[in-house]
Amino acid sequence: MAELRRFLPALLLGLLVAVPAHAQLTVQITQGVTTPIPVAIVPFAGEGLPVDVAAVVEADLARSGRFAGLPRASMPQHPTAAAQLDVAQWRLVKTDFLVLGRVRRDGDRYEVEFELYNVVTGARLLAYSVGAGASGLRLAAHRTADLVYEKILGVPGAFASRIAYVLIEGPPASRRWKLVVADADGENPVVVVASQQPLMSPAWSPDGTRLAYVSFEGHASGVWVQNLLTGVREKVSGRPGINGAPAWSPDGGRLALALSQPDGNVDVFVLDLSSRALLRVTDDPSIDTEPCFAPDGQSLYFTSDRAGRPQIYRIVLAAGERPKRVTFEGSYNARPRVSPDGTQLAVVTQDQGAYRIATVDIASGRSKVVTSGQLDEGPSFAPNGQTVVYAARERGRGVLATAAVDSGVTSRISAASGDVREPAWSPRL
């Protein structure tokens, strides 16, 4: 008896170990989708507002390619406060997230209060208030979109940033070039400089206060730096021949340039803005142009046709080594722009006879075409690295467009009539 008791646990244990027929099921999940996430941006409460805040938020999110807004007609209710929200009704319309909010007017200021809900779990993920001046309600809406985007996708949005671009207007006889700075959604365009000679290649300083660009005023190319707050502009390079393709160093103290030699050969140089000292970076009989600093400021990417066709190369500034080729896929890769995290390049690539925008993973050299136009040009990364802005051809003229790096979803940015070229996305402002 006592013995049986003593051995019973062992026997039972043996049975227990033997009985479960199946080991616990472990399922590995390695893939996901980047299809647009259904989101409902309910119209915000507020009387007589100059801006439909919810519409701006929804347009921002949709343009990113990662969200699909629920049409207002399909919304089962229009709650503007938590107490009015009936999550169950929203589950029926298959929306994953919901944003509701209110705009309060306080003198000549606005306060945008909003809340973000996960409709499936019912959890409130965010409750936030964004202040804005009388003219800043659109900006407050963009900041709202930024916060929603970040909460759901894990990286900050880039909606409250700006885009600079060259706009060419008028018939050939009386053509005018303008340098325009607009909100990231193309709204609030402001002309910062206009000329009857070509303007080219705008580039944002890392602090977002200055633009460098090429101007042919006086019928010769020169590189100019213009302060956007004061309007003061200064020519920083006006050598004989070509002065082109300015690109800022990450510290804002230097400009990489493409300059021609007396024999016409173009090479890459770095100009120190305070000392005006000029450092030659490449020295090759081929054309080396379109430089771009890596985020660490230690190396430059540039386009060179030294191998016969344009490809991207990288040169370390201090090492004195020969440049190393970065792009190998495709017969034409040009105009590199590096992503904020330094892991990829956006380039213009030749793809099935068309010029399209591709991203290149720098470590692997793998290239991915993210646009589908015929003559896409001038890519520039958003400050969050998730989107590139570029100029697409539409009925013979350039228009602003964006492409989501992950999904390749492209969208047009509405812009005034005219021919848009070489957009440059600002840093985080």
């Binding site: 008896m1 013995e3 049986l4 008791r5 003593r6 051995f7 019973l8 062992a10 026997l11 039972l12 043996g14 049975l15 170990v17 033997a18 027929a21 199946h22 616990q24 099921l25 472990t26 399922v27 590995q28 999940i29 390695t30 893939q31 996901g32 989708v33 980047t34 299809t35 996430i37 994953d96 996960n118 499936v120 779990t121 993920l125 970040e150 909460k151 759901i152 996708l153 894990g154 990286v155 969050n384 998730q386 992950d406």
Partner: protein, 291 residues
Amino acid sequence: MNAFLREHARPLIGSALLHVAVAAAVIAAALVSVVPRFVQPPAIEAYLAPAPRAHVGTEPASAPAPAPAPDATPPPTPPEPVRSTPAPAPDPAVAAREQAAQRQAQEQAAHRQALERDARRKAVSDARRLAAEQAAAQKKAATEQAAAQKKAAAEEAKQRAAAAEARRRAEADARARTQREADLSRQLAEEQSRLGAQDAGLQARYAADIRARIERAWNRPSSARPGIRCKVDVTQVPGGTVTDVRVGECNGDAAVVESIKLAVLKASPLPAPPDPSLFQRMLHLEFNPDG
């Protein structure tokens, strides 16, 4: 599955019966062995320790300390007063009587002495006899004790031997039982692995179905980069409806965690297993996004 059942009906039924028999034996053993335990006084019992009360009423359970025994020696009696009577004056008539009396007294004294001698002699012989008797008795007692001890020792040895035998038997039984249990366990395990091998393919299919469903539902946030690892426990009910999602160890940010919860809930109801026996209430997911 059905063909398999038909073909292996007999072994399967045998196996089932074996399972049932083992389980019945175990349960019976448990019942038989367990019940008396409740009758026996427990070796240890836990009580709530009462707060120590001030010295009120209750006496300790032990017997009261014995009252002091009354003193055996009587209190000393007070000294009795001695009566002092004056001696009477001598008288010649009385003298003769006195002489006679004296003689008589002497004779009485001699007789008394003789009696006393006899008594002493008798006492001595009595004492000797008593001593002899006592010695004999002691000797007898010693002999008896020795015999008793010897008998007890023999008894004890016998008992020890019996106990040892019992122990030996018990150990042998136990060894045999352990052997039997091991055999049973092995048989079960072998059977299990036979069935398991068959299930492995189906289970892999089940896992793949679940994986496909969740991957379609997982809208991967930008922060879910390679290197992110998140362990997730999912509870489902038959029919596949997810009732609970718990994200455990996870190096992803809040957006990753939220996206995982959303993916699993949106994937609900999860696909049914290819065989109902493969259904598992608890599923373990590992989100491990690749490039």
